[in-house]
Structure formats: structure tokens, C-alpha cells
């Protein structure tokens, strides 16, 4: 479509983005579900049993994508919040709010699966390993962001305050990471690293990459869904319900399916 121009700025308005998001959700949600099934199938039935860790290692198919998504979504959230603050773009700020919950969920999931994996493999639920500690701190940063936004009633102030906090956190993340790593190496000798195997069997790698793609698509779909809810809530508060009236009905129909 070289000649068809799309006016992208049109979709910066929440009311215009709302129906677009609704159309996009199945395009991300359905492949996510299919890839989850495929990834879990390969992960559980095709990938060989690890000779050191037995079947317990299979938790990495959830754990590794969750940990990556947790970190990546924080950066994305901070960038969206920053864009929303700098350019006064409401939609970007709403996006940051929508991302924060999913990011916190993935971070928590990576910690939970990590400790479930640690019990049979290391013999302990929790090790003050540099990576685990910094993930825990990342979860604290998410919780700070979410609770700050929840405490502020005025949505615009909540957006901007969240943006300042997210960006300060973003600057702090490398400092925290290095300080934790340094603290750890000085306190307890060498740490056990995840995935220290030099090579992975191809089905294992395939399952992990498929699960990663599935987590990506899932995040996009769920964030768009949450974004639609936030748009509805805020436009409602702002008294702009009229223009969205028809779409509200469409939304409730989608929910019922």
C-alpha cells in the first residue's frame, strides 16, 4: 500500500484508538494462545529431560520469558510514561499505566517460578543471588509506581507523577543492578547462574523462544484490553461518554464472549 496514507496522529486520541485497539486484540490474543499451547507442548513432551536437573528444568520455559518480559516492560513503561509527560500525550500515559500491572505480574511470576525451580535444584526456596535480588527490587519499583498512581485521584497528576518516578527508577536500575552484583560477589563466593549450560538442545531452545513470543503477544493483547478499560473509565470521568456510547456497548459484548 504505497499510496495509502494513514494519519497516525489520529490514533493518538484515546477515543479514536479505542476501536482500533479492539480490532487489534484478537490479532495478538489468538496467536498468543496458539503459541502458548505449542510452546508448552514442545516444552513438556518434545524437549528431552536434562541430565543434571531432571524434569524440574522445564520450569524455565515460563521462568525465562517471564523474567525478560518483567525487565523489558519496565523500560517500555518508563518510556511511555516519559513520552506521555513530555508531549502531554494522554494515550501514552494510559499505556504506561496499563503496562505497569502486566510488568509487575511477569516480575512476580519470574520470582515465583524461580523459587519453585530453586527448591529441587539448589535445595532452597530462596538464595540472595544477585539476579534474584535485583528482580525483587524491580518488583518493588513496580509496586511503588502502581501504588503512587493508585493514591492520586486526579488522573493527569497521577500520569505525570508516575512518569517522574518511572524515569528516576530507570536511571536507578543500572546502579541498583551493579551495587547488588557487587554486594553479592563480596558476600558469598561464586553464585549459581541460571542457564550455565554451554549448549541447549534445539527443542529446548525452540520451546523457550516460542514461549517468549507467546508472552510478547499475550502482553500486547492484555495491555490493549486494559488500555480500553482505562480509556473508558477516564473518558467517562471527563464527561465524554456520549461519543463512546456505541463503543461501550461493543465493549460489553466483547467481554461477554
Amino acid at each position: 500500500m504505497p499510496n495509502r496514507k494513514i494519519n497516525w496522529y489520529k490514533y493518538a486520541a484515546p477515543a479514536n484508538f479505542y476501536p482500533l485497539a479492539g480490532k487489534l486484540i484478537p490479532w495478538f490474543g489468538i496467536p498468543a494462545a496458539l503459541l502458548f499451547v505449542a510452546g508448552l507442548y514442545i516444552g513438556f513432551f518434545v524437549a528431552p529431560t536434562d541430565f543434571q536437573q531432571g524434569d524440574a528444568y522445564r520450569i524455565i520455559f515460563i521462568h525465562v520469558p517471564a523474567a525478560w518480559m518483567g525487565m523489558f516492560l519496565y523500560i517500555l513503561m518508563a518510556l511511555y510514561a516519559g513520552v506521555g509527560w513530555a508531549f502531554n500525550a494522554r494515550l501514552a500515559s494510559m499505556m504506561a499505566t496499563a503496562l505497569s500491572i502486566t510488568g509487575a505480574m511477569f516480575t512476580f511470576l519470574s520470582l515465583a517460578t524461580g523459587s519453585l525451580w530453586g527448591k529441587p535444584t539448589w535445595g532452597t526456596w530462596w538464595v540472595w543471588d544477585a539476579r534474584m535480588t535485583s528482580t525483587l527490587i524491580l518488583l518493588f519499583l513496580y509496586i511503588g509506581f502502581i501504588s503512587l498512581q493508585a493514591a492520586i485521584d486526579d488522573p493527569r497528576r497521577a500520569d505525570r507523577a508516575g512518569a517522574v518516578l518511572a524515569l528516576v527508577g530507570l536511571i536507578n536500575v543500572p546502579i541498583i543492578y551493579f551495587s547488588v552484583q557487587w554486594w553479592n560477589t563480596l558476600h558469598q563466593g561464586a553464585t549459581i547462574r541460571l542457564l550455565n549450560k554451554p549448549t541447549m538442545a534445539p527443542p529446548m531452545l525452540a520451546a523457550m523462544l516460542i514461549m517468549l513470543a507467546a508472552c510478547w503477544l499475550y502482553s500486547i493483547a492484555i495491555v490493549l484490553m486494559r488500555l480500553r478499560c482505562i480509556i473508558l473509565e477516564r473518558e467517562h470521568e471527563a464527561g465524554r461518554t456520549l461519543t463512546l456510547g456505541a463503543k461501550t456497548a461493543q465493549f460489553s459484548r466483547m467481554e461477554s464472549i
Binding site: 518493588f140 511503588g144 546502579i175
Partner: protein
């Protein structure tokens, strides 16, 4: 303007001396709770002393954050300050410096006395004081961001803790490591240098973020 703000905040603090003292006694009480709850064994106490003193300093500095902007916000002074043509950066820096002098310097002065209770050697006490001198300004600077963001919110006291404590972690780690190194007999200079680097970085960036947060909160 810079000096005026500092003088004003110091005078205000002097008129409410009880607030300053209560922060100091909070610090002393928290530190004293640890030997009571863990054990009076001198060797154990010596090994936990750096962490205990630093964690108590973190918590005590959280207490005084609420007062940094809230009184000015309530009586409208803050709005006037934001309207002045003077650079807000310097005003914020002045307020943070005054807060540090009032709330944190007494902690730094008290820390060696508490260190003696934990059986730290003279050399270690010096390192502890230096690490607190370098670290507590960072606590004030980062804390001012949290205080500005939560201005006038309900339950802001707990919220400040949630926002600010994760950001304090590098200071806590470097500060406690410096004292640890000194107890172990090795050179704490690397940790102190890193603490200084964190101080320099936050001196530049934190007041800027606080200015932005203040403008957002007051509008």
C-alpha cells in the same frame, strides 16, 4: 536566595526542636532494639553493626521527609516559592540541604556513640562516620523526590517509604560494605568512592526531578 532558604528552614526547624529530637531518638531506639532482639553476643553484634546502623539511618531519614515540603504546601508558601523568578533548582537544593543539616547530621554525630555500643574499633567508627556523611545527603536528595511526588496525598507517609526505599538500596549497600570492609581490616576506600559518585550523581539529577515533581504536585 539559596542562603535565605536555608536560614529560613533552619529557623523554622529550631522553633520545632522536638521534631528533630524525636527523629534522633527514633534512630537510637531502632538501633538498640537489635541487640535486644538478636543476642548480646559481642562478635555477632560487631558483624551486624554496619547493617543495623545503616538501616536505622534509612528509616529515621524517612521520618523527616514528610516535613520537607508539607508545611509549606499547607500554608501556601510553596506556591509562592514556585511563582518566584528565582531558579527552583537552587531553592530545592537549599531546602534539601537544610533538611539534611537538621535531620541527618544529628544522626551522623550520634552514630559513632551507637557504634561503641556494638564494639566497633576506633578506625571503623571513623569509616562509619565518613560513610554516613557521604550517604545521608543522598538519602535526603532522593527522599525529596518522593516527598514532592506524594505532596498532599492521603497516606503519604507509607507511600513515601514504598517509593523511596527501593531507590535507597545502592546507598545502603555501599555504606554498609564500607564499614564491613573496615571491620574485616581491608581498605574501604573503593566503597567510599562509589558512595561519593552516587552523591555527585544525585546532587545533579535529584533536585531536578524534585522540581518537576513539585510543579506536578502543586500545578
Amino acid at each position: 536566595m539559596f542562603r535565605w532558604i536555608i536560614r529560613r528552614d533552619l529557623i523554622l526547624a529550631w522553633r520545632r526542636r522536638a521534631d528533630v529530637l524525636s527523629t534522633l531518638f527514633f534512630f537510637v531506639i531502632v538501633v538498640s532494639l537489635f541487640p535486644l532482639s538478636i543476642s548480646p553476643d559481642p562478635r555477632l553484634l560487631k558483624s551486624i553493626a554496619p547493617g543495623v546502623v545503616w538501616v536505622a539511618a534509612l528509616l529515621a531519614s524517612m521520618l523527616s521527609l514528610g516535613r520537607l515540603f508539607s508545611n509549606d504546601y499547607v500554608d501556601g508558601t510553596l506556591e509562592q516559592i514556585l511563582l518566584t523568578p528565582q531558579p527552583l533548582y537552587l531553592i530545592v537544593l537549599g531546602k534539601v540541604l537544610a533538611q539534611w543539616l537538621v535531620a541527618e547530621v544529628p544522626l551522623v554525630l550520634m552514630a559513632p556513640i551507637l557504634g561503641v555500643q556494638f564494639g566497633l574499633s576506633q578506625n571503623t567508627l571513623v569509616v562509619l562516620t565518613i560513610s554516613l556523611l557521604l550517604g545521608t545527603p543522598v538519602l535526603s536528595l532522593i527522599g525529596s523526590i518522593g516527598a514532592a511526588l506524594t505532596l498532599g496525598l492521603r497516606g503519604s507517609g507509607v507511600l513515601v517509604a514504598l517509593l523511596v526505599l527501593p531507590l535507597y538500596i545502592p546507598v545502603l549497600i555501599f555504606g554498609a560494605l564500607a564499614v564491613d570492609a573496615s571491620i574485616a581490616g581491608s581498605n574501604p576506600q573503593a566503597h567510599l568512592s562509589l558512595l561519593g559518585a552516587v552523591l555527585a550523581l544525585s546532587l545533579v539529577f535529584a533536585p531536578w526531578a524534585t522540581c518537576a515533581a513539585l510543579r506536578i504536585s502543586v500545578e
